[in-house]
């Protein structure tokens, strides 16, 4: 496709954001009736729905772990989510590396189902954030939130939270998931070429993004619980 | 009479090459090649068997063929069946009831007679794994070319323009009984029997080669034991 | 019409005139046939109503039910139970084997907790047992806790067919070796 201008000279991106600016994030928990915990998150035009069932009995005897719960993640994409429609195979598993107190539920299973309704870049980060919110909504004890965000590098300029256009052009795309309290990296995955010296700056920009997301998600959780508390108090 | 890859006689076999116990995770492994066509075979067993294929009074023999290129297709399934039926009678599976013997055959390079290379490779691998066996198996392939003479151990070119292909496998007992006979193409009865005769003599040479290879390996191991 | 052949769903009469025998069913006051077969009207002394039964022509393959006598082959033995593949139910062979289990507490009626399963059954024996319950998803629960139930045919280690000498011993005619089985009283 024609080399469209991803970064204008005065530093603005295709959708008018500054390089280190996140897309608009809206999140909501307990959206579904049947699931034990559920969450819906919108990052720009990427919309993901997460549902959590568990901890519950393990379905296949073979996989039982005597000392902790096994986490089973299933991820599928709605056919109308991307620009051209294709039916994806159902089981392309994403290992999201979420840190749970799994040792508290031995010999059990926690299922996380992720459903991408609309895909405009940064699907993995949206899924991880949605899964975290759903797990919190399900009341499963966790060490910390897991917040993920992507960052890239266009003409040597680190850029935060890539959308579909920036992602499909050959620019490198780094997804980082951290535990905000300790700042430790839980998951990191990088695609297409990025010079090693740029790694540090792009990674730190992504970590900043994660912290911003953490504050937003934390705010959402707190005021839903507040809302719950008030309605109970009446 | 000149053959396409420089061999002079019809019954001349290409250079054999064999090496044993080259893998660590398998109980026994071996690589065997007739000239260019090479096959690596590995044997694991006797191991735990799935309830589904458990046999009360003998070991279950499972054989998997992995082609050189691409995913396994129906052609490899036919190869699997032929190899399993050739090799299974020689294993004394009665001594290891309710266990699994898993043989994996990885075809490295195809240049003519893959079926017989695989049989020889499995033979060596089972020897290396120390399975109780009633006899060894050696196999040679013969083709009849348009000029009606019998060529042993064909290369892929000779295989292509052959009118019929015959693969035979014999055990190394005194009576050399036949374990595998796999023929394709149009041929007359006596052509079939003369091919069998030629392959029987050739397989004696293969048996001799296997014996010397194993002897060398064991002598080398004894030396290592004495020296260390 | 001495013997008329009926097909399933064919009306046989009013429910109050007859009692429903085997092969028939009653719905909304009417009696219907439920199998293909010959209609028989039987007069029996007890109830003044005649009973209609359908003698089946098409034999349905047998299904083990509670109380039916079965013959089967022991497939696997472990300390808690011996698993049986059921071949014959109440003298009708079933086309495909059903899966049954003789739990250790159902092997015999006397000294039930001192039973050693390997002294009662060995894989390959043929046993006659009785179905005591539908059991779990995989197998029916069987019992050999009667004299005429237990092993009726067994091969010795030497491969000969053994002869039962007592209710718990069998002898190989060739090697005279005694092996322990829970034998059925031969009748």
């Amino acid at each position: 496709m024609s080399r469209l201008e991803l970064l204008t000279p005065e530093g603005l991106r295709v959708d008018g954001r500054r390089p280190n600016e996140l897309r608009k994030i809206i999140a909501k928990t307990s959206v579904l009736a049947q699931a034990d915990g559920s969450a819906y998150i919108e990052q720009g035009n990427t919309k993901v729905l997460a549902a959590v069932y568990g901890p519950q009995e393990v379905r296949h005897r073979m996989q039982i772990l005597h000392d902790r719960a096994i986490i089973n993640v299933e991820f599928n994409v709605a056919p109308f989510s991307t620009s051209e429609r294709k039916k994806r195979s159902k089981n392309d598993k994403y290992d999201n590396g979420i840190k749970l107190q799994t040792s508290q539920f031995p010999r059990s299973q926690i299922d996380i189902y992720l459903q991408v309704l609309q895909h405009d870049g940064g699907t993995l980060q949206a899924c991880i954030n949605a899964a975290t919110m759903a797990l919190i909504d399900a009341g499963i004890p966790m060490i910390d939130y897991v917040c993920a965000s992507t960052a890239g590098c266009i003409d040597k300029q680190p850029v935060l939270d890539l959308n579909y256009l920036e992602e499909s052009s050959d620019s490198p795309e780094l997804t980082v998931a951290i535990l905000p309290r300790t700042g430790k990296v839980n998951l990191m995955s990088m695609e297409s070429r990025l010079h090693v010296d740029m790694l540090e700056s792009v990674a730190s920009l992504a970590t900043e993004g994660c912290e911003q997301i953490h504050t937003i998600l934390d705010a959402v959780v707190r005021d839903t619980t507040q809302h719950l508390k008030d309605s109970l108090m009446q | 009479m000149k053959r396409s890859d420089g061999r002079t006689e019809a019954t001349q076999l290409r250079a054999f090459a064999a090496s044993q116990s080259l893998l660590n995770r398998a109980d026994g492994s071996a690589k065997f090649s007739f000239g260019e066509s090479t096959v690596v075979a590995s044997v694991v067993g006797p191991a735990e068997v799935k309830i589904r294929d458990e046999k009360m009074d003998e070991a279950t023999v499972e054989l998997i063929v992995r082609p050189a290129v691409g995913f396994p297709t129906t052609k490899d399934k036919v190869l699997e069946r032929a190899l399993r039926q050739t090799v299974e009678p020689t294993i004394l599976s009665g001594m290891m009831p309710r266990t699994l013997i898993q043989i994996v055959v990885q075809i490295e390079q195809v240049d003519g007679n893959i079926l017989s290379t695989a049989v020889n490779a499995i033979s060596l691998a089972m020897l290396d794994a120390g399975l109780p066996m009633s006899s060894l198996v050696a196999s040679v392939t013969a083709v009849i070319d348009p000029q009606d003479n019998i060529l042993l151990d064909p290369s892929s070119q000779e295989l292509e323009n052959a009118t019929s292909v015959h693969t035979f496998a014999f055990d190394n007992t005194s009576s050399y009984n036949l374990l595998l006979s796999h023929s394709a193409g149009a041929f007359s009865e006596d052509q079939y029997f003369s091919c069998m005769e030629a392959c029987k003599h050739a397989s004696e040479r293969v048996h001799a080669f296997i014996r010397t290879a194993v002897e060398k390996k064991i002598q080398k191991e004894y030396q290592q034991l004495q020296s260390s | 019409m001495a013997s008329t052949i009926v097909t399933p769903g064919q009306r046989l009469g009013y429910a109050q005139d007859f009692t429903a025998g085997s092969g028939t069913y009653e719905r909304d006051g009417l009696l219907y046939a439920s199998v293909v077969g010959v209609k028989k009207v039987l007069k029996d002394a007890t109830s003044h109503l005649e009973t209609i039964t359908i003698v089946r022509e098409k034999e349905q393959s047998a299904v083990p039910s509670v109380g039916s006598m079965i013959t089967g082959k022991i497939t696997k033995v472990n300390p808690r139970f011996a698993s049986v593949s059921i071949n014959v139910v109440d003298s009708t062979p079933c086309r495909e084997d059903f899966q049954g289990v003789i739990r250790v507490q159902d092997v015999r009626a006397t000294e039930r907790d001192k039973v050693k399963i390997y002294n009662s059954f060995r894989p390959g024996d043929i046993v006659r047992a009785q179905v005591i319950s539908l059991g779990d998803a995989r197998s029916y629960y069987l019992s050999t806790a009667q004299n005429e139930l237990g092993v009726i045919f067994a091969k010795s280690v030497a491969g000969e067919t053994m002869i039962p000498v007592s209710w718990q011993e069998m002898q190989c005619p060739k090697t005279k070796v005694i092996e322990y089985r829970k034998c059925a009283k031969p009748f």
Binding site: - | - | I5, T7, G23, Y25, V36, S61
Partner: protein
Amino acid sequence: MDRKRVNGPELSVVPVEEHTEEKQILDSKERRLDGRGIDDIRPIFMKSGLISQANGSTYMEFGNAKVVCAVYGPRQMKKPSFTGKGVLNCEIKFATFSCKKRRAFQRDAQEKEFSQILVQALTPAVRLDLLPKSSIDVYVNVLENDGTSSTLAAAISAASVALADAGIEMYDQVAASSIAYVQNKILMDPSALEEESEDGSLVVSYMPSLNEITHILQNGNTESAIANKAVEQCIDACSKIYSVMSTVLLQSLDTSDK
């Protein structure tokens, strides 16, 4: 890509014969292409007990369409789960050569749905509560398909006879028939040709002596009055087919006595 079979080239297309002139489905005297009246059923040939291995089986021909049905069971369930009642499993498969367009070996969406319909149509008639923990498997193979909806109807009738032939206790036989709406006329038992130019079709499976409809399937839009009339016509046809089914079962008795 099916690795278990030798596959031909991926994209091969049915040769398109160029359009001969539009054939007249109904001529002036309300006669159809094969000479039948609008509510005549094609001649039915049915024979039970042909497959030695099966408990019960039927071979059925109507016109030049051919269906074979085999019943296995009652036997142990493959995926054992404790159920108080027996379970009926049905599988219908169109042979690859049976239709105008070649069908694949694996079962496609339509065959999966027809198998589901077969289960729903037959279950009300079978006394499953007498066979706890066991399953009855019905396998239907369509050898030649002359009108998909009439083949489905034939499969239901053949399966019902096969169940009776297997000696399984049943409340009643299930007969099924189908009609096609062509230029707001109702054509009984449509053939493949008539199906191509139909506006809609209806399949009704019916238990004549218990007077209960076990399954109904209609597509294409019609006035509700015509739909009701069509259902009645189907019910009459089912009673006719029911008599054929009974005679087949009676005949199979005489042969088995010899």
